[in-house]
C-alpha cells in the first residue's frame, strides 16, 4: 500500500477504544452494516478475529470477503490498517 488514506491514518494514530467497525479503513457504510449484522459491531471485535487468525493476511482477507463481501482493495485497506495498529499498540 503506497499511500494511506486519512481514515487509515486516523485509525492507526490512537488506541481504538470503542470505535465502530466503520472506523476501520476499507470498511464503509455498507460493509459496516453487514459486519454489524454478523455481530462485528466494534472495531475490536474485528481485531479479535484478525488476531485469532494469527494476523495471517490471506486468511483475514478471505474472512472479510466471506463475511461482508469486501473487494480486494477494501480487504487490503482493512488488513494493513489493523496490522499497523497492532504494530504500534500491541
Amino acid at each position: 500500500m503506497s499511500s494511506t488514506s486519512q481514515k487509515h491514518k486516523d485509525f492507526v494514530a490512537e488506541p481504538m477504544g470503542e470505535k465502530t467497525v466503520m472506523a476501520l479503513a476499507g470498511i464503509g457504510e455498507v460493509l459496516g452494516k453487514r459486519l454489524e449484522e454478523k455481530g462485528f459491531d466494534k472495531a475490536y471485535v474485528v481485531l479479535g478475529q484478525f488476531l485469532v487468525l494469527r494476523k495471517d493476511e490471506e486468511l483475514f482477507r478471505e474472512w472479510l470477503k466471506d463475511t461482508c463481501g469486501a473487494n480486494t482493495k477494501q480487504q487490503g485497506d482493512c488488513y494493513s490498517c489493523l496490522r499497523e495498529w497492532c504494530d504500534s499498540f500491541l
Binding site: 478475529q49 485469532v52 487468525l53 494469527r54 495471517d56 490471506e58 486468511l59 478471505e62 474472512w63 466471506d66
Partner: protein, 402 residues
C-alpha cells in the same frame, strides 16, 4: 498425493483414526493397539483406493486421487477441530486456533491445499518428491574430497614412495583453506626456484649447503619428481639413450663435477625417505646425478613450468581461487587485505602528525598567548569603545562650536 503411497504402518494412530473415520469405517475400541487400526486401514481404505505399482501409477493416480478427494471433501465438515488442525499440519500449514469463526476458513484452506497437491501429484514423476532433500553443497564437498583422494592416489601410484604418500596425505588432510596456501607453492614454485638456483651456484659448495639447509618440507616435492625420474631411468632401457642425447644437447653438463653431485645426493638423502635410497643402486645414483643437470637446463629454459620426465603433469588440481565458499583472502596471499582507498588513507595518516601532538601544540600556543596577554601592563582597550569615545568627542566639539 503423497499420502497414498506411504506405508500405513508409518502413520500415527491419530492419523489412522482420522483416515478410517474419513472412510466411514467403524473404529475399533479405543484401547486397541495400533496394528488393529492398520489392519482396518488396509482392509477398507486401501481396497477402495488402488494398490500402487510403479508401472500403473500414471493411469490410476488421477482417478483414485479424485475419488479420495471427494471422500475427503465430504468429510471435512465432520472432522474435529484437532483433526482439522493435524491435517493442515500435514500440508505444512500451522493453523491458529480453530474456533467457530475460523473453522470455515481453515476448512476452505485445507480444501484448496488438497486440490493443489492433487494437481501437483498428477504432474509428479517418480522420485522427484525428495529432490529437496539433497543439497548441492554436500555433493560438492564429496566430489572435492574424492578428487583429493584420486589425485593423491594417482600420485602415490606414480611415485610409489613413502615420501609421496606422506605429502599427499598431508595434502588431503590440509586440502581446505588455511594450509593449502602453503602447499601449492611447495609443489611448484620452490622446486623450480631450487633447480635454477642450483644451476647458478653449481660449483660452490657453500651455496649448496645453503640450499641444503633450506631444504625443508618445501622441497620435498622436488625430490619426488627426481625420484620418479630415478625409477624410470632405472627401469626403462631407452632412458639411457635419451639421456645421452640430452647430454649432448646440454651445455652446462660438462661443468658438473662429481663432488657437487655427491652433495646433491646428500640432499636427496635429506629430503627423501631412506627407503627409496636403499632401493636405488649406486650406479643409478650416478646415472641420476648425470641426468639431473639436463633437466635443470630445461627448467632453466622454462623456469615457469614444472618439468616431469614423461611430459605428463601430474599435479594436484588447483582450486579456483575464491570459489566454493573459500575465502578469497586465503587464496591470494599477495593480495592486500585492505581496499586501495583505505591503504591510501593509511599512508596519509602515517605522514600526518599524531593527534595528541596536535593537541599539545595547540595547548602550548594557547598558554603562551594567555601569558602574553596577562603580562601586558595595560589591558587592551576595546576598539568599539574607542570609536564611541571618538564619536562622543566629535559630538561635543560639534555642540561646543555651535
Amino acid at each position: 498425493m503423497p499420502v497414498f503411497v506411504e506405508d500405513p504402518a508409518l502413520f500415527s494412530k491419530e492419523r489412522l483414526k482420522s483416515e478410517l473415520m474419513a472412510h466411514n469405517v467403524d473404529l475399533p475400541p479405543p484401547e486397541s493397539k495400533k496394528h488393529a487400526y492398520v489392519e482396518l486401514y488396509l482392509k477398507h481404505v486401501r481396497t477402495n483406493t488402488t494398490d500402487f505399482s510403479s508401472d500403473e501409477e500414471e493411469d490410476h493416480l488421477g482417478g483414485s486421487a479424485e475419488k479420495e478427494e471427494k471422500a475427503k471433501m465430504v468429510d471435512l465438515g465432520l472432522l474435529t477441530d484437532d483433526q482439522l488442525k493435524a491435517k493442515l499440519l500435514q500440508y505444512g500449514v500451522k493453523a491458529g486456533p480453530i474456533v467457530a469463526s475460523t473453522r470455515a476458513l481453515y476448512e476452505k484452506k485445507l480444501k484448496r491445499l488438497m486440490d493443489s497437491s492433487a494437481q501437483a501429484s498428477q504432474h509428479r514423476v517418480n522420485g522427484t518428491r525428495d529432490a529437496g532433500l539433497y543439497s548441492d553443497n554436500e555433493e560438492e564437498d564429496g566430489r572435492e574430497e574424492d578428487e583429493d583422494k584420486e589425485s593423491s592416489e594417482s600420485e602415490q601410484l606414480r611415485s610409489d614412495t613413502i615420501a609421496r604418500t606422506e605429502t599427499s596425505k598431508t595434502a588431503s588432510r590440509t586440502g581446505t583453506v588455511s594450509q593449502s596456501r602453503d602447499f601449492y607453492p611447495r609443489c611448484f614454485l620452490p622446486s623450480a626456484g631450487f633447480i635454477s638456483g642450483k644451476i647458478q651456484h653449481k660449483s660452490s659448495d657453500a651455496t649448496q649447503n645453503e640450499s641444503l639447509s633450506q631444504s625443508g618440507s618445501p622441497y620435498r616435492s622436488f625430490s619426488i619428481t627426481q625420484m620418479v625420474e630415478e625409477i624410470e631411468t632405472r627401469f626403462s632401457p631407452q632412458s639411457k639413450q635419451t639421456e645421452i642425447e640430452r647430454r649432448s644437447g646440454s651445455r652446462s653438463k660438462q661443468t658438473v663435477d662429481s663432488r657437487v653431485l655427491r652433495d646433491f645426493m646428500r640432499l636427496d638423502k635429506d629430503t627423501m625417505t631412506g627407503r627409496s635410497l636403499c632401493l636405488t643402486s649406486p650406479s643409478s645414483h650416478q646415472k641420476l646425478t648425470v641426468t639431473e643437470p639436463v633437466t635443470d637446463v630445461l627448467s632453466e629454459m622454462f623456469p615457469d613450468t614444472a618439468r616431469t620426465p614423461t611430459g605428463i603433469y601430474a599435479t594436484k588440481r588447483r582450486p579456483i581461487k575464491g570459489a566454493a565458499g573459500r575465502p578469497v583472502q586465503f587464496k591470494y596471499p599477495e593480495m592486500p587485505l585492505l581496499s586501495p582507498t583505505s591503504l591510501e588513507r593509511q599512508e596519509i595518516q602515517q605522514r600526518l602528525v599524531p593527534l595528541w601532538v596536535q593537541i599539545v601544540v595547540f595547548l602550548l600556543v594557547v598558554c603562551m598567548l594567555y601569558l602574553i596577554y596577562a603580562s601586558m601592563e595595560e589591558p587592551l582597550s576595546n576598539t568599539f569603545t574607542d570609536l564611541l569615545e571618538d564619536l562622543q568627542e566629535a559630538a561635543l566639539i560639534f555642540t561646543s562650536e555651535d
